[in-house]
Symmetry: C2
Subunit: 336 residues, 2 copies
């Protein structure tokens, strides 16, 4: 029996010029028919909004192709199989894919993975067990290479990746300092997530001074989610042979052109520092191993999943814009 | 029989404020007596002048302690043992040490190494077989990790380290592009040292365009001796998974305070670039192995030693100042 299903989706209406705004998006409707051979009709349960998406809204190529104007915003989502024309998925399966900001979608069978909601809540597959958790895991362990007793500083520490990085660093026996944008976030980091100290950068014109207090032995690893002035302040305290993990530069994404700042190379040279960028996709072959370890930590209580869930499909653009206003704590999701 | 020997030496008279000038130095005389037990009296044959010395003339600690005002400028030198009060050295031995800018010196036996002038000319022990060659060797091979067919760009390419880096890169099967400050230097790089291309940055307001021409496949390794605008231009052409070896930042050393430039972190992130500082001393344990390979290359003609030798003790400050005016080709030495 053929079905015709109404679908709502959010498309890129125009490319942001600097700061992203509601007007860059448009909610449109379409009708979906039966899935073709090998295709699956899914209904979204959770949709992820992530800072990296801002880069894809520009016209130039980054490590992934830019979104096209007029097309749906692609991104991580989880949901339920409504109708399957594939041998690999059945109606009722809970799946993870990248169909993005839409209520329903027809997707190819090889773009989905089945998830087991009994092992962890479905939403965790977009957070601690998804690309967010994997980003924290590979960035800290592969690039940062932490040793017991080292001092790890994380910026954007209350964000989706940062909150996991700090916890993994703690599990590795490091001293962990977070930088975040509110007293409430700092309290969460210190009281709930086991950070040794947290600094609210909004209370300090320059975080260098409070950082010096809580990093008496300097900084061995800096996990950078934000870039800009905050990062400069951390890097001035960098130790010999330190590692700077470039994970995100959220302070820069909404800038129309490349910002200027201090030339850090002399400092990196004198202290023999490694500064390295990475992208989680480069570690695809190790995902399974990493997810197993993350799930262990999660289920044993060593790792806490922080999620900030907004309800309502039409709230997606606001949830996304909020990422750049420092509103979210932990992984920002939209429940459909 | 006791001896009294006149010694001339060059001391740091005042710390440079920005650009280093002749007035920062003073030639003084002293009398040297017999060496104590375990000490050796040496007579300088060659004295090395190196860009890193500029950093030691500042008051703040870098990776080595600052020079003290009123004291002799320490640095690499070779010479002949005149009188020995040590079992380990005999009169007539040719030795390498760090007694610096003086005609004669009394030094501790454990601060000297004997060199074999039959294996390579004495001056090579300050150049291709000395810290210069070792710096090129470890920076390129350990941090840069070149693969056959990759494109390596070297700034300060006609300088002491740069000229060796390019040659080692060629030996490793890389495509090598040098950036230097005169047509004469570029000709030397291309015609004599086997660089695939060389760019005279003084003929171009921005080296990006000529670089794009000679690096059609982008840049896989950037060996940075200079910093500043030239480095920015190279880094804009950086490939995915490239390595930036921070060896020197000579354009910055004479600046009174930290310069500003484009924030490169987003670029490093997108392209998963590693930018890493290093100092040759960190590889001390591998010096012997490296010197043996460098000597092999030198003696088999794969590696050419470039030296610029100025004669006369009193010429040392001018030779040093000339390093920052881009005057030297290859290793700058002063023959005493």
């Amino acid at each position: 029996m053929a079905i015709i299903m109404k679908n709502r989706k959010i498309i890129l209406k125009s490319r942001p010029a600097g700061q992203v705004v509601q007007e860059n998006f448009e909610l449109t409707e379409e009708e979906l028919g039966d899935p073709d051979k090998g295709d699956i009709l899914v209904k979204s349960n959770y949709v992820s909004v992530d800072p990296y998406m801002r880069n894809r809204m520009n016209s130039f190529k980054s490590y992934v192709a830019p979104y096209k104007v007029g097309q749906v915003i692609e991104g991580d989502a989880t949901g339920c199989v409504i109708r399957s024309n594939s041998d690999r998925f059945r109606e009722g399966d809970i799946v993870h894919g990248s169909w993005g900001w839409q209520e329903n979608a027809i997707v190819k069978e090889n773009s989905l993975t089945r998830i087991n909601p009994d092992m962890a809540p479905e939403s965790a597959y977009l957070g601690v067990l998804g690309l967010t958790g994997l980003t924290a895991y590979f960035g800290l362990l592969e690039i940062g290479q932490p040793s017991v007793g080292e001092t790890v500083v994380v910026s954007g520490a209350a964000g989706s990746t940062g909150s996991i990085v700090g916890q993994i660093a703690r599990i590795q026996g490091c001293r962990v300092v977070g930088i975040a944008g509110s007293d409430q976030k700092c309290k969460l980091l210190e009281k709930k997530l086991g950070f040794d100290a947290a600094i609210n950068y909004k209370s300090h014109p320059n975080v260098r001074k409070p950082l010096m207090k809580v990093c008496p032995d300097g900084v061995d690893i800096y996990f950078d989610n934000v870039g800009g002035d905050i990062s400069d302040s951390v890097i001035y305290l960098i130790n010999n042979f330190a590692r700077i993990v470039l994970c995100g530069q959220i302070s820069q994404y909404n800038q129309a052109r490349m910002a200027t700042g201090p030339r850090l190379q002399s400092l990196l040279l004198i202290h023999r520092v490694k500064m390295q960028g990475f992208i989680v996709f480069d570690y695809r072959e190790k995902y399974d191993e990493a997810m197993a370890r993350l799930a262990d930590w999660l289920n044993s209580g060593l790792l806490t999943s922080q999620e900030n869930i907004i309800r309502g499909f039409e709230q997606i653009p606001a949830a996304f814009i909020g990422l750049f206003e420092g509103e979210n704590i932990g992984k920002q999701l939209v429940r459909i």
